[in-house]
């Protein structure tokens, strides 16, 4: 059994070695002309403003949180799935209770809008919101784009 686990480990080491070797080869072959411009953070040609420490949306956390809970559930489901054929109905009922509990959690998060991400406000640009503008743009797109470019 240990042998089976040694294989991925040695593959990891070999993979790391492979990348390292290539990086060294690349380092030996490549030209190196460092300059201030190259070392600047890339921001589409603009001079970067501030650091990249932007405050992130809390939704990232909520998604990760729901994920962790369901990840744990998958870990519980795996040994169950392996023995399910042997144990039959009893195990099935037990697991459905377990899943049902967590589905309650998913339903709660769903209901409270935790699974929603910010949607673009498409209504603003719909036909209903500004009918004249919409007609104008649809009729003569080249005029609008021309203005934008000009």
């Amino acid at each position: 059994m240990l042998f089976n686990f040694a294989a991925p480990l040695i593959f990891i080491l070999a993979g790391a070695l492979f990348i390292a070797l290539n990086l060294v080869i690349s380092r030996l072959l490549q030209p190196r002309f460092p300059s201030v411009g190259k070392a600047t953070t890339y921001e589409c040609g603009e001079i970067p403003i501030g650091t990249s420490w932007i405050q992130f949306n809390i939704r990232f956390y909520v998604i990760a949180l729901i994920f962790v809970i369901f990840d744990v559930e998958i870990v519980f489901l795996i040994p169950w799935a392996v023995v399910f054929k042997d144990l039959g109905l009893f195990a099935f009922v037990e697991m459905m209770i377990f899943i049902g509990m967590l589905l309650l959690g998913l339903a709660y998060a769903w209901r409270k809008g935790d699974l929603e991400w910010d949607k673009p406000e498409t209504d603003k640009f719909s036909r209903e919101a500004a009918p004249e503008l919409f007609e104008e743009i649809s009729a003569r797109p080249e005029k609008v784009t021309g203005e934008l470019v000009g």
């Binding site: 809390i58 956390y61 949180l65 962790v68 809970i69 990840d71 744990v72 870990v75």
Partner: protein, 103 residues
């Protein structure tokens, strides 16, 4: 050198436990304190599994360790939510500064 046995695993676990405890005791940032707690739980898990292998020949220790990991996951989720709330309220997650109950 003596063959690796129960003692080796227990000592490894003790060292990891101490490092985790050190993180809990000395770190300022609440998230690193949480990391220390995770390390402590890992040390406990090594003990469970090592005892299961060397004194019991069974699998109960491993089942227990699975439950520990699960509890750790649930705990980390809630604890981080609390940390984020503290950050929201007090604009800091440093435990020595977050010492007031009122805003």
């Amino acid at each position: 050198m003596i063959q690796v046995g129960l003692h080796h695993f227990l000592i490894l676990s003790a060292v990891l436990f101490s490092l985790g405890l050190l993180a809990v005791l000395t770190k300022k940032n609440a998230v690193t304190v949480l990391m220390g707690i995770e390390l402590i739980l890992n040390a406990a898990n090594i003990n469970f599994v090592a005892f299961a292998r060397y004194t019991d020949n069974g699998i109960h220790g491993q089942v227990f360790a699975v439950f520990v990991i699960v509890t750790a996951a649930a705990g980390a989720a809630v604890a981080l939510a609390i940390v984020l709330n503290i950050y929201k309220q007090l604009k800091t997650v440093n435990l020595d500064e977050a010492d007031s109950l009122a805003r």
